[in-house]
């Protein structure tokens, strides 16, 4: 409204550059994860050097307290870490979009019932619930992703529902109803495409969120201890007293790798936002946060 047009233009351009840079970074991570077996110099779980070695030409990032090569573990760890993010967000956005479209479009008693249930479930703090469940079920990677996704879908459903609700009062939906199209047809062909941009952006932010959450859970020592991921590396460094010993080559590599991935995903999300929802572009309201 009270914008200076010139600054906004620069701002806009910058975001496009951000988009391409973020995408390139994400591809880099995906490639690393894909080619980890060839790129890694050592087996990540084998002992192949003296323990606690400082970084040198033989072990690029040194070795941990068992004598495993940290650089190889970092490369292999990107696989589980990416899986946390993308599987988690796939489940949560998929389920959330389905539920949101259903409740937002149908309205009435179905909506009130499902939304009421979701309100109650959302008052339960998620992280402690995840921790309790994880102790009972001793979950592996996939089960953790499913848990995270299921719990996270509540929030997604609420956001998608609000969007679907506003779309449902548009004229084209009334026209479709007047034509006598079935509810499922309208939801699939009219409502779903309208909420899709939002879903895509939520998917990217979700990938960041679940990646960090999954790594955080492994940092707390949850999940399969044999699995190599960045959180587990941090957990091992922490348990072995990496702080007291000042072993920063145990701690910083997984941290920086995680920060890079997290940044690329969130920048991708932010830069897609105005492109996908035209009302943001017109009003010049940059970066509406969606979480």
């Amino acid at each position: 409204m009270f914008q200076k047009p010139q600054t906004f233009q620069i701002f806009h351009m910058c975001r496009k550059k951000t988009f391409s840079a973020a995408l390139a970074l994400l591809f880099f991570y995906l490639l690393l994860a894909l080619f980890a077996p060839w790129a890694a110099p050592y087996d990540p779980t084998e002992i192949n050097g003296n323990p606690c070695r400082a970084p040198d030409s033989e072990h690029l990032l040194g070795t941990n307290d068992f004598g495993q090569d940290i650089f190889s573990r970092l490369l292999w760890g990107s696989r589980a870490t990416l899986l946390f993010g993308f599987l988690g967000t796939f489940i949560s956005t998929g389920l959330g979009t389905g539920l949101g479209v259903l409740t937002g479009y149908l309205g009435g008693r179905t909506d009130r019932f499902i939304s009421g249930c979701m309100d109650v479930l959302m008052s339960i703090p998620q992280l402690p619930l995840l921790l309790v469940l994880s102790i009972y079920l001793k979950p592996g990677l996939y089960l953790i992703c499913i848990f995270m996704g299921l719990l996270g879908s509540l929030q997604q459903a609420r956001i998608i529902r609000a969007k679907a609700l506003s779309v449902s009062t548009e004229n084209f939906v009334y026209a479709a109803k007047a034509l006598g199209l079935s509810d499922f047809h309208i939801m699939g062909r009219y409502i779903l495409p309208s909420v899709f941009p939002l879903t895509l952006v939520k998917f990217l932010f979700g990938a960041q969120h679940y990646m960090l959450l999954g790594v955080g859970l492994s940092f707390l020592g949850i999940g399969d201890p044999k699995l190599v991921d960045w959180g587990q590396m941090l957990h091992q460094a922490y348990s072995a007293g990496g702080f007291a010993l000042g072993m920063w080559n145990w701690i910083f590599p997984p941290c920086f790798a995680m920060i890079g991935l997290s940044l690329s995903l969130s920048l991708l999300g932010y830069s897609l936002e105005p492109w996908l929802s035209p009302q943001l572009r017109h009003e010049g309201k940059s970066f509406s946060p969606l979480f």
């Binding site: 703090p125 998620q126 402690p128 309790v132 970066f287």
Partner: protein, 325 residues
């Protein structure tokens, strides 16, 4: 929102909060019962094999294990209300006592950092939203996108690295130095974890405030104030700021829950003896009753914070207060 709506809204929230707590209780009861084996097989692993079956049955009767499941659940609920939250496997103490002791330490950290991050987040968010599109806005926004992308425990690592290892200014963890110097050092020990906790929660408040400010600036009464020729400062402090603060303050409870979740990581990193570190230890030791107790207390805290925000809302917003009277 009309007064009646607001009242029924608060009642609805109260109801849903209670229902959520009940659900958490049910869940932890069912999970405990669904574990393989029961208290008897565990307790009487050595003794039970030689004990006569009548004695085992008598013991089961004494403990209440022969009751039907719904009745056991009722007893469990009454126990929870009376403060009987079970015994920790690892510490051998009542869960409730343990949690009460640790909660004190968590709150020492939690309350100041919630306060700091709220104030800072509101200030920065308001500044950013007010100057939308400017260089200040872009700089703040990019900085906070970065802060948010880095998990809080990484900020903790960075803090320890810089302030404890490189500059040797602050202790890297714990809550007190050696005996004799205990009192003055509590603040120094709490400084780094507290600030990390606040820093990690900052982006949430910032985004909310910035968005709320942007929305308020688009309202007609801001345009009207400009048309009447009010000074920019008066528009900011008299019109824009009070109105854009409302949604942020109502979300303060969510904020609190967020910080509580973050404290698990921060307390672990800094070895702060609060609920978070207790959670970490319980996870390491697979201490189920303790973990359930922590889960329940977290649920209670979050629900209480939610309700407080709902009840505070009319106090802050005069439109709703007048509606109530």
């Amino acid at each position: 929102m009309r007064a009646g709506d607001k009242k029924s809204y608060v009642l609805k929230r109260l109801f849903s909060g209670l229902l959520a707590f009940f659900l958490s209780l049910t869940l932890s009861f069912l999970l405990l019962r669904s574990l393989p084996g029961d208290y008897m097989t565990d307790l009487l692993l050595e003794v039970g094999r030689y004990a006569p079956p009548e004695l085992v049955a008598a013991f089961k009767h004494e403990v209440g294990l022969d009751l039907p499941l719904p009745e056991q659940f009722l007893l469990y609920l009454i126990g929870i209300l009376k403060g009987n939250w079970g015994h920790s496997f690892e510490y051998g103490l009542p869960v409730f006592t343990l949690i009460r002791e640790k909660l004190y330490w968590t709150l020492i950290l939690l309350l100041p950092s919630t306060f700091i991050s709220l104030i800072l987040g509101i200030g920065l968010g308001a500044c950013s939203g007010w100057k939308n599109g400017s260089k200040t806005d872009a700089l703040l926004l990019h900085f906070l996108v970065f802060v948010r992308a880095v998990p809080s425990y990484c900020w903790g690592f960075a803090g320890i690295f810089i302030f404890s290892f490189q500059l040797s200014l602050l202790p890297p963890g714990g809550y007190a130095s050696l005996p004799g110097t205990e009192n003055p050092s509590l603040f120094r020990h709490a400084l780094l974890p507290g600030l990390t906790l606040a820093f990690g929660a900052l982006p949430g408040t910032y985004y909310l405030m910035r968005n709320s400010m942007l929305k308020t600036l688009g309202e007609d009464y801001i345009l009207a104030a400009r048309a009447r020729g009010f000074s920019e400062l008066r528009i900011l402090f008299g019109h824009a700021l009070p109105n854009s603060l409302l949604p942020v303050l109502t979300q303060a409870s969510l904020h609190c829950a967020h910080i509580l979740a973050g404290s698990v990581f921060i307390e672990t990193v800094f070895s702060w003896p609060g609920l978070g570190l207790l959670t970490f230890n319980a996870l390491e030791a697979h201490d189920l009753p303790l973990l359930q107790g922590i889960f329940l207390i977290d649920t209670l805290l979050v629900i209480t914070a939610n309700l407080t925000a709902d009840l505070l809302y009319p106090l802050i917003d005069p439109r709703i207060r007048e509606g109530l009277n």
